[in-house]
Symmetry: C2
């Protein structure tokens, strides 16, 4: 017997017919002998409907009241799932965020989960009752409803899994796992049996939209084993216990799984970056701080940074990337601080893409990056910038070459054959 | 300065455009120098949507989970009204049922309000903040969301008015007050300036659907002055303080209002009654208890009861009315207890209507009922049963004659002239 958290997203909860499918999956999981808690999202479209109401009511909305409105979506689906489970003969009850309670800070609309008081819900699960918990919400220190921000239900599920000491947190979604790359780009992309938390973080932060990044960080910190799997399955599909999806685990556990090792786990593409070049910046101590201080103060996330040798002595060009959505603000801030920074011109380019190869295997293998650079050079793809971390190499290229680059690299690292990837 | 509770129904809250109208009315009321609490219903149609979800999920639904689902409707509108008031420059915040809290019993889906802890909300109102409170809900002794049953928001408003010591509870609705009779039947029906709690109870329980009966009983018990008025008014309409609607008050206050006295305040028609005749019931002590005991045990509300002299010695016919919706159950229960009761036949008729004249004036005037009987006899309307209370005379007639009877009586009691009614 194990204790399992199951999380279902908005597409899986869209309407009573789909909720019945979800209830069937939950019932099967409990019938396998487990204690089960279920975390649910609002019906697909419902949160958008409620957010639009808030915008219409007050464009500069008070986040505490916004939370009162939007939290209703998950409240509705948790009651409905409990009712549907009861109709299938299961014991089930809902636990709202303020009932457990799930404590959060007071940062309404983007709250962070603190302590979760789980004693009552554990006792209920031990008595054979399925706990149904709305994702995305808790109660702030001010005693009011607080939501975690869009996509926060994944984080709720992982936090609850940690609080109740769950053996596994299964995230049911509309894809059946994490792939070596986007299957819409590479038809031969393969589902991964397992990835490490670090790999998942790198894949998520560069564009694999399967799991919310915060939830993966939290799972890593709390040591929660996560599985991503599909909620659109038949009644005779394998149980989640058979691990049909992708398992996200620690390095140690991945090694213990004894799977065929690959140097590279996955390839991610991100078109939401924009390139900024500042020309003829004084090449002196403190110059970089002058550039990035104002951007950090404005919470603009600077990613790749390259300092080129300039054409004139004592001057240098500085290239970096920011999220495309922040490009206009970035330009305005830099113009504002032009005198302190002392650059000549700002050149921007939003038509760039960041391609990343990710894998824990590269820690122990040299030459991984060289394979990437050669494969791209062979096809004439120009690399505009490079950045690396311990388990990732990213390059910035022309956006038009995104799909070509991903396909070349998928082949170059031997990912698109028929063996199981790991 | 006064302390006012304002309550808005689902039609007034249907969509952000209408919520903006409501917010304007609330803002004007506060600007007149008052402390204001607002009680809101869900958007029209929303509760039906949520109830249907529950029925689809589980036809025999668990009322505690049903409450979790349907309470979301008022939660949404209370957040939206707070946001809209803020957009108009008012200080406002929502207080959910579990936050005040509004304590109820554990009778989920039809809970009764107990104690309301009002200190925090009073402090907030005294600081100039408008309190927005979802109607229809509270928190049960089990710590879970509890709803009061359909139409419960009127009761919430009155209970909150009592708890915070409000000077007046204004119930905004889609009609502009209480009329001498249904204006769809009698074009010359007039709006009443004021009625007593008892009159309103009699008018409501016989078919005037303006206020939920429970809310009127509670207002009478707690001495809460209630005004019914329209939410569909222009910005330059008279303030609620000028009492443009119908005031519902105690006998003493009505006398103090010094309005022109009428013997009859209003005329109500109710087509939702059915007549049952049991023939040849033994005319002995305890016989009536044998009939009505089982019906009371099944919570069937028996209204008019007439015992006729039977054709045989020692036997009698018993006639009574029950709600049409309970007629089938009533027949089944009576057949089940036929031996104990000892009747001969059951004769039923659902095509009847109960016409009632209501007025505190009849306490001090004889001959009120005689006028009614004569007016109906003159037009050949047959009276099948009669029942009276201190301030009401009701007669049962053929349903087809409902409108005719109401018009005749409205004229007979001098209600359809041009003077103001009282």
């Amino acid at each position: 017997m194990a204790r399992i958290v199951m999380k279902f997203g908005g597409t899986s909860m869209a309407g009573t017919e789909r909720i019945r499918r979800v209830a069937n999956i939950v019932r099967r999981q409990q019938a396998a002998g487990h204690e089960v808690a279920v975390v649910v999202s609002a019906m697909a479209g419902e949160t958008d409907r409620l957010v639009n109401f808030c915008r219409e009511a007050n464009p500069l909305y008070d986040p505490a009241e916004y939370d009162v409105v939007v939290a209703a979506g998950e409240q509705i689906t948790s009651g409905l799932l409990a009712l549907t489970l009861q109709a299938l003969g299961c014991k089930a009850r809902s636990w709202l965020g303020w009932q457990l309670p799930i404590h959060t800070d007071n940062a309404h609309a983007k709250a962070r989960i603190g302590e979760i008081e789980a004693d009552a819900v554990i006792a209920s699960m031990e008595a054979g009752e399925i706990a149904v918990i709305p994702g995305f919400q808790g109660i702030g220190e001010d005693g009011r409803v607080a939501t975690l921000g869009r996509g926060g239900s994944d984080t709720s599920a992982v936090a609850i899994a940690a609080a109740i000491g769950a053996d596994r947190c299964d995230i049911y979604t509309d894809v059946d796992g994490v792939y070596t790359t986007d299957p819409r780009i590479v038809a031969k992309a393969r589902k991964l049996k397992a990835v490490t938390f670090e790999e998942m973080l790198e894949l998520a932060s560069v564009g694999s939209k399967v799991l919310q990044t915060r939830s993966v960080s939290l799972a890593m910190k709390e040591g929660v084993r996560v599985q991503v799997l599909s909620s659109f399955v038949d009644d005779d599909a394998p149980l989640a216990d058979d691990l049909p999806g992708t398992l996200i685990v620690s390095d140690e556990e991945l090694e213990g799984l004894d799977m065929e090792s690959q140097l590279i786990t996955g390839i991610a593409a991100d078109k939401n970056e924009a390139k900024v070049i500042l020309t003829r910046v004084p090449d002196k101590p403190g110059a970089v701080a002058q550039i990035f201080g104002p951007l950090a103060a404005a919470s603009i996330n600077v990613d790749m940074i390259i300092q080129n040798v300039g054409r004139e002595k004592g001057e240098t060009d500085v290239t970096f990337t920011v999220p495309s959505a922040d490009l206009v603000r970035t330009q305005a801030l830099l113009e504002e601080h032009k005198d302190e920074i002392g650059f000549n011109r700002i050149i921007t380019d939003a038509k760039v893409a960041k391609i990343s190869i990710v894998g824990v295997g590269m820690r122990s293998h040299a030459g991984i990056a060289a394979t990437m650079f050669k494969a791209m050079a062979d096809r004439g793809i120009n690399i505009q910038a490079i950045s690396t971390s311990e388990i990732k190499v990213s390059v910035l290229i022309d956006e038009d070459e995104t799909e070509l680059a991903v396909r070349i690299l998928h082949t170059a690292y031997g990912l698109d054959d028929d063996r199981d990837a790991a």
